[in-house]
């Protein structure tokens, strides 16, 4: 049973921000509600005021230019990202990630912004966006600020939104040349939450093929999406070979603090981090080489 609330359906960002600023902690924003409604139905979330931003069409967009890179409106549905020819061509890893995110029904209504603000460490987008060095634009009546995706999650289901603040845009910089990104998660059935997940980006130095930069981020391995910097160091500055890919996985595994649940023990998850970091890194390397 969903508890009663007072309902608003603002049509513009400014309207939404005014409402947020007015009702503060007693208000919750709902976008697609695909994560939120489950919790509300269980009676675990009972806001006094519900600000339904799904109707703010101004936040539903996918734009790209060489300078600013990719900008996705927070209310873009997963399915749009999955199917966008632009994203498939230039940021294919995002389309791949979306294709395995839950099922089509969820992707037809749930939004990328809603997913990120829900703050579930098992969520698929965050690690991929971290690997892509993405930023988030947060807006309030006071103005705007941008924050790295990896700074956005504070704790399990807790994100760094200040009172009166709303996520409005996801910004993905144009990947540097000679780079590749890949993401993979451990699923039993297609669309499952990953038992673990890993996303890796690798940038090679032109000419000698040495790894210039690497980013490794994990899902469902800690209370937030986790960037494993020590594992990154295993790859940076080296000519990556099979052994280093394996080592990166092993190091990432030690940085994680995986949960225990009916889907897997912490020990199993650690073993899987080794596998998925290695697999994602290998794929990213392959893509980086192909881009060279």
């Amino acid at each position: 049973m969903i508890a009663d609330f007072e309902y608003f359906a603002p049509k513009t960002v400014d309207e939404a921000l005014s409402l947020l600023s007015q009702y503060r902690e007693e208000a919750k924003i709902i976008a697609g509600g695909q994560s939120m409604l489950v919790v509300m139905k269980q009676g675990l979330l009972t806001p006094e005021y519900l600000i339904d931003i799904k109707g703010i069409t101004a936040l539903d967009y996918i734009k790209y230019d060489e300078g600013k890179g990719l900008r996705i409106g927070a209310l873009t549905i997963h399915r749009a990202i999955e199917k966008s020819p632009l994203i498939r061509e230039r940021f294919g890893v995002l389309s791949e990630m979306e294709r395995n995110l839950a099922t089509i029904q969820t992707r037809n209504w749930g939004t990328i912004g809603g997913n990120l603000c829900h703050g579930d460490p098992a969520g698929d987008p965050a690690p991929v966006l971290i690997a892509l060095k993405a930023k988030l634009k947060l807006s309030s009546l006071r103005g705007e600020r941008t924050i790295e995706v990896e700074e956005f999650s504070k704790d399990y289901l807790e994100v760094a939104l200040e009172p009166g603040e709303m996520l409005t845009e996801i910004q993905v910089p144009t990947p540097p040349p000679h780079s590749g990104v890949a993401g993979e998660k451990l699923m039993v059935m297609k669309g499952d939450m990953g038992i673990v997940g890993a996303a890796v980006s690798i940038t090679l130095k032109p000419g000698n093929g040495v790894c210039q930069d690497a980013r490794i981020a994990l899902s469902n391995c800690a209370s937030t999406p986790l960037r494993t910097k020590e594992a990154e160091k295993v790859l940076i500055g080296k000519a990556i070979n099979e052994g280093l890919l394996t080592k990166a996985g092993e190091v990432a595994s030690t940085e994680a603090n995986p949960p225990v649940d009916v889907h897997g023990s912490a020990e199993y998850r650690r073993e899987m981090i080794k596998v998925f970091v290695r697999r994602a890194a290998a794929k990213a390397l392959e893509r980086a080489k192909a881009a060279s």
């Binding site: 038992i195 649940d261 596998v275």
Partner: protein, 782 residues
């Protein structure tokens, strides 16, 4: 679109289901879709403790809440108890003194809307004294363990000890003897439609119950006893049912009793819709079992003896555990020849939700253990898995002959050998086994299994089933049956049988779903009995009606009734077809002219009882089925050896001997479904995880049900044996596929990776550690 069999007008050909249109347009009404003016919403209040004494229940606050129209507690039922049979009546509609599993119902409320009903439930104050509990059979069997039922001396619920031949002697004389242990998981039945009920009283002595019940005559009898009403005053109406698979919708729940009691107290209809959470925490589950199986073989791999010990977790109440343990053992003597067999079964009470029947009931556990062990034996002897099965398979008896197993099971037709051969050929077994097994981090393997299932199950107590055919004066036909279609297609088969016999079209038959005010009694949809037994009744009723019409036709034509035939709605003299009239004309004459009678055909079947007697549970002898189906299956799996994730590929074939496929596509669908949703689900995906009586994964995300992307496109081959005991030669369809799939998958995993997963399900983590252990072991050996 598919094969056809026999040369009947309707049977043996693809028959679109009679209710498919209603379902595909959304017009079919299920229990939760019923709405009545003045209807109240009911809600059951449940215990948070798995084992506790109820010290007091105070409903006063709930009663005072505006919108609440009735409240009930266990005391309202006056000490009524119910159960599987007389001696096992150990369950109350709502717990009175003690709760024995978490979320057992203790009270219920009816209010003007769902929200108020829920609020009222929260206002009911129950004082509990939590008690220590037992949460698996091993705790339950300990000396001095807390008693689930204090009027018993221990927690043993069902115990059987059977012996046929001399297993010890046979083991001593065997070339090879193996003992292995296996475990099967706690499983949900898996129906998508959650149980729902609407009940109302038309006066103080007449109750109406509309509910999703696969065996509506169970609530018919139980409610009659509970509310002290003659059976004729208890009206059970059956809407469309969204599957059952043998339990909960086949048996009573606190919601069922509560809805009826609340309706009585409020004087208004009451609807209770069970949530999926309630289903996954309290509805009946498949027993988890711990099996130890010891088998001996000759040098040529011929089975000499099997000793099976089965320990089961029966949960809080007896329910139908006596039948479960019977079925787990009694058909071990099929589908292979087994000259010596010993069985010790122990089913314990625990403080978990009750375990009960589920598609593949009983046999699935022991067939899994036995058919995996058979592969282990084959490997030790250097024999091919198909070869060892062919060597042991029971031969199909010649017409007129019967195979008798050591425990007096009688088999008139057994197509298992042909099933095995057909599957091996269809999947290209030799080639598959030689196929390259490893590609990168994926390993491929193929596994084989064979199974049987009892068909036309007969239990003690009421076994007869009946059908009534009313020929309406315009030639359309009312068919009244007590048999219930839970989705398996029995409405279609009953209609098809009636139409075939009468010589008319299936579209001329209007089948009336069970309404106990009008339909005749039938034991219910369980034990794969409907086609065989209710089908026999259908045939007999149609023959009776037909005979009455043939007599009228005979009079009209001036011949004897046996000289007349009806086919394709034409009535004609066999030797002189020019003497004919239409079906409609004959019916009109019969009803309006001479003799001007009302044509009602009556038929019943006690086929199984009169033919073969009943099985004896204590000794494990006799025929629990009227006849037996046989299945063979081969399944290929893909194993990700780095993660342990196992997936079925599309290389998956079943061959099924259902005697005669009355509706071939329906048999195929049933086999594909049984193999995947009950079989593969157990092998790879499903298990309730428990912690001291609490279900840790009571939702459909954490309790994984099989989905479309992972579904093998299983091909089904038909094997026809024309059983003499089934209508038109038919036996049950598909329950065997629930039993063949798990061992086929586990054997395939072994073929792919060299590890045996004896403990279902083969979840990724389990497979991963098994693979790792194997790797370490082989490293150690170097």
């Amino acid at each position: 679109m598919g094969e056809t069999f026999g040369d009947y007008s309707i049977l043996g050909k693809p028959i679109p289901r009679v209710d498919a249109r209603a379902k595909v347009t959304g017009q079919a009404k299920y229990a939760a879709d019923y709405d009545f003016p003045d209807m109240l919403w009911g809600q059951v209040k449940r215990s948070p403790y798995p084992h506790a004494r109820i010290l007091s229940i105070d409903t006063s606050k709930a009663e005072k809440l505006p919108g609440v129209k009735a409240v009930t507690t266990g005391k309202d039922f006056g000490g009524f108890r119910w159960g599987w049979s007389g001696p096992t009546r150990d369950e109350e509609p709502l717990a009175v003194k003690k709760v024995r599993y978490q979320y057992e119902g203790v009270a219920a409320v009816a209010a003007v809307d769902e929200e108020i009903a829920k609020e009222a439930c929260d206002l009911i104050e129950v004082e509990y004294e939590p008690l220590p509990g037992v949460f698996d059979p091993f705790e339950a069997m300990q000396e001095g363990a807390p008693l689930v039922h204090e009027d018993r001396s221990g927690n043993i619920c069902v115990e059987y000890h059977w012996a046929f031949g001399d297993v010890d002697k046979a083991f001593a004389e065997s070339y090879l003897v193996r003992e292995d242990t296996f475990q099967t998981p706690r499983m949900a039945k898996g129906y998508l439609e959650t149980p729902a009920v609407v009940s109302y009283w038309t006066d103080s002595n007449h109750l109406v119950y509309i509910g999703a019940k696969g065996s509506p005559y169970f609530p018919y009898r139980i409610l009659s006893r509970c509310f002290n009403l003659p059976l004729s005053n208890v009206r059970i109406i059956t809407p469309f049912i969204g599957s059952d698979f043998g339990g909960t919708k086949n048996d009573m729940t606190p919601a069922d009793f509560s809805a009826v009691m609340l309706a009585k107290k409020a004087g208004r209809p009451v609807k209770i819709v069970t949530s999926q959470f309630d289903v996954l925490t309290t509805d009946l589950r498949r027993h988890p079992m711990w099996l130890t199986i010891k088998t001996g073989v000759t040098k040529d791999g011929i089975l000499t003896a099997t000793y099976l010990k089965a320990i089961a977790d029966g949960g809080a109440y007896t329910r139908m555990s006596p039948l479960t343990m019977m079925l787990t053992g009694c058909l071990m003597t099929l589908p292979y020849k087994l000259p010596n067999f010993k069985y010790d079964a122990y089913n314990y009470f625990t403080n978990n939700p009750s375990s009960a029947a589920m598609r593949g009931h009983g046999l699935y556990h022991s067939r899994f253990a036995a058919d995996v062990q058979l592969d282990m034996i084959a490997e030790e002897l250097g024999l091919d898995p198909v070869e060892i099965r062919l060597r042991n398979a029971i031969e199909n008896p010649k017409p007129g002959e019967v195979y008798e197993a050591v425990n007096e099971v009688h088999v008139a037709t057994c197509g298992v050998k042909e099933c095995i051969e057909k599957v091996a050929e269809a999947i290209n077994w030799e080639k598959m086994r030689k196929k390259k097994k490893v590609e990168g981090h994926k390993a491929y393997g193929v596994g084989f299994a064979a199974a049987t299932y009892n068909s036309g199950t007969k239990l003690s107590a009421h076994n007869a089933c009946a059908a009534i055919i009313r020929i309406c004066e315009d030639g359309s036909v009312n068919y009244l049956t007590g048999a219930t279609d839970v989705g398996q297609g029995s409405d279609t088969i009953m209609s098809a049988i009636a139409a075939e016999v009468l010589g008319i079209g299936i579209e001329d038959i209007d089948l009336k779903r069970v309404d106990s005010a009008f339909t005749p009694v039938d034991p219910g949809t369980y034990g794969s009995r409907v086609t065989v037994l209710a089908g026999q009744a259908a045939r007999n009723a149609a023959l009776d009606a037909k005979q009455q019409l043939l007599e009228v036709a005979a009079q009209q034509f001036g011949v004897k009734p046996e000289e007349v035939e009806i086919k394709n709605k034409q009535v004609f003299v066999k030797s002189n077809p020019d003497k004919n009239m239409s079906w409609e004309r004959l019916v009109r004459i019969a009803c309006y002219e001479s003799p001007g009678k009302v044509i009602i055909g009556r038929g019943y079947s006690t086929q199984g009882i009169t033919l073969l007697g009943l099985a004896d549970f204590t000794r494990g002898v006799g025929d629990i089925g009227t006849n037996y189906s046989f299945t063979a299956q081969a399944a290929e799996v893909e194993v990700d050896v780095e993660t342990g994730v196992v997936k079925c590929t599309d290389n998956n074939v079943i061959a099924h001997d259902c005697g005669f496929p009355l509706n071939p596509p329906a048999v195929e669908t049933q086999c594909q479904g049984g193999a995947y949703h009950q079989g593969v689900a157990a092998a790879l995906y499903e298990e309730f995880k428990m912690d001291k009586g609490q279900t840790l994964n009571p939702n459909l995300i954490d309790y994984k049900r099989p989905r479309a992307c992972e579904a093998p496109m299983t091909r089904v081959e038909h094997v026809v044996t024309n059983d003499p005991y089934g209508p038109f030669g038919a036996k049950e369809a598909s329950e065997g596929s629930c039993c063949s799939a798990p061992p086929a998958v586990i054997n395939a995993i072994y073929d792919a990776t060299g590890v045996w997963i004896n403990n279902l399900p083969a979840e990724p983590e389990k497979v991963f550690w098994a693979l790792k252990a194997k790797k370490e072991k082989s490293k150690g050996k170097k």
